[in-house]
Symmetry: C2
Subunit: 384 residues, 2 copies
Amino acid sequence: MADRLTGGDSSLLRRINAAVTLRALRDGQAVTLTQLVGDTGLSRPTVEGVIEGLVESGLVAEVDQAQENGRQRGRPARWFRFRAEAGHILGIEIGVHIIRVVLADLTGHRLGTFARPVDETLDAEERLGAARTAVAEVLRKAGVSRDNLWAVGVGTPGIVDRDGTVRLGTAMPGWTGLDLGARLRRSFRCPVLIENDANLAAIAEHWQGAAVGMGDVVFVLAGLSPGAGSLINGRLHRGFGGAAGEIGALHLLGQEATPERLLSTSGKPLDPLDEAAVARVLTLAREGDEVARVAMDRFLQRLVHDVAALVLAIDPQLVVVGGWAAGLDDVLSPLREQLALYCLRAPEVALSALGEDVVALGALRLALDQVEEQLFAVDQPTSR
Amino acid sequence: MADRLTGGDSSLLRRINAAVTLRALRDGQAVTLTQLVGDTGLSRPTVEGVIEGLVESGLVAEVDQAQENGRQRGRPARWFRFRAEAGHILGIEIGVHIIRVVLADLTGHRLGTFARPVDETLDAEERLGAARTAVAEVLRKAGVSRDNLWAVGVGTPGIVDRDGTVRLGTAMPGWTGLDLGARLRRSFRCPVLIENDANLAAIAEHWQGAAVGMGDVVFVLAGLSPGAGSLINGRLHRGFGGAAGEIGALHLLGQEATPERLLSTSGKPLDPLDEAAVARVLTLAREGDEVARVAMDRFLQRLVHDVAALVLAIDPQLVVVGGWAAGLDDVLSPLREQLALYCLRAPEVALSALGEDVVALGALRLALDQVEEQLFAVDQPTSR
């Protein structure tokens, strides 16, 4: 890909100067040339040259602030701002029951969201088709051209390779073995990054949710097939094979029961994917139904066990609980109590602050990281 | 502390030049001045100045290799070597049943080991006294002065703060709350670093055991009170509060049985610290005793569960099993089978390659890291 900062010119020094200048503009405020010279430490002629190039490439615009500076004598100050609208990014969740797409500008400012329920029985082609339709819909509504996308992040259940292949994805038909990265890259001319949904949820909560400012975080995507994502020292911990946090199989050991058995009020297990049936049990329990309360207690006990295993292994500062378990009344109190009992150092526990958007927002942050590396990194190679 | 490389002179450039020169000498081979000029990229006068200072401070010795170079005409080449014997380091394990001390030179080459069994009922003062005696014994035997120690690493069970306070240490009387770092620093004039025993075992296996060349490793110190240490990307993962890997409490959840119950052949739980009783059960099982075999199977099931929890949470490349469970016949086969069944991506499984010395060797590596930072790091501040 041609360098966004310098067009064809890939002189390293020119690239670094452009990145430094753009970084000084990244917060979106209009800034004078003189301020830029001070902020960057570059010479005035250098900044003038860089700015000229950035205006030409569409990344910076000159702002007319003549009135405000009317009192000034001599040559009027020239004002510039970063054009966040020069490109766009997408965050996409491809889930069992939902396709969700979030569109944003180059600063991550959200411009549009689109969610479409999908059936859990869709095969991979149908699911990919639904995702493509959702993307087209978001772009159409916002009047953004597909060619104007700079990066796309995608979240999905399962174990995902660094290159975007789904190594294991039992929640959705045809998902295991799918080269999701390659398939989606056909629809976009920009980088497409694929990541596990719980991992993205952890990233999202750290970005703008319950885990802002905390580097050691476990996000538990509680549900009938629970998964988790972890940040260690502020960075995503994927594990050696991308499978870190896939704690769902733990209950299979030692004949412990599955959530769908635990939550059953009839003796017959629930359908593992039937979240409506789960919601009915939760509602009954909330209304005081004794059988449902016992079922919910059994399920909570199981959730506590899974979370305790994660906490004992990783020792995070904070556990964020999301997924539909976040809708359980008082899921936090028993979790806190039990973790305090069994963990040698109990972490803080909080509910997800981002609700249903959490995975798509994490995917958006992944895309934004890609863009920021292109625009602001001064230590990257001049070509890739 | 005065800078070891430059004595009183803390000029940054001088320090960097000394570190660069010393690094070129660190493998222990004698090297000529001309080779050093080539290896370091420094000028000949600079290297001569640096070497003069290093010889004065005792870190470098001139080697007489005149005979070997007899054929050479003109000024004879001058040869130098790093004096690994210029200082010493200690690795200490303070355990429930053992005090173990390893002495080494500045390259980590082992010069002496001393192990002394101790009683599990010793209080903290008695245990610290036993450790001091063991250190004195090692130093005396090797003829090394205490003042010649450059760094001491110490491993102990429990949750240990970064500053060396034992936050929780239930295995030994009086250990919880003990400021182990401060107590031991009274006995030494050099830095004393304290770390959890399983964490040090992971470091040791990575240094010179079963995990050489692997960055994502979980070491399981199996025993009646199992713990684990993890490396992620080659670095120790301590967790937010130093409690990562303390998986032993997991069985307390959901009324799962403790190891001392599982391993009992009499219906009455074993004493949690009585490793001899455990050994008897293992021996009986090996000899075909049916009750003992069933007990051992129960225990293995429990071990599999704990290891599976760690593996699902962290997704390492390799699990190393140490502690007395490493003495179990065929502990690896059931572990491998069960992990393959329940983990979405099963790791390799290996026995500890370092045996009883593993914790003390990890502590030695910790001390060596400290020394190498003093001697070879070029990016550290000139004073601390």
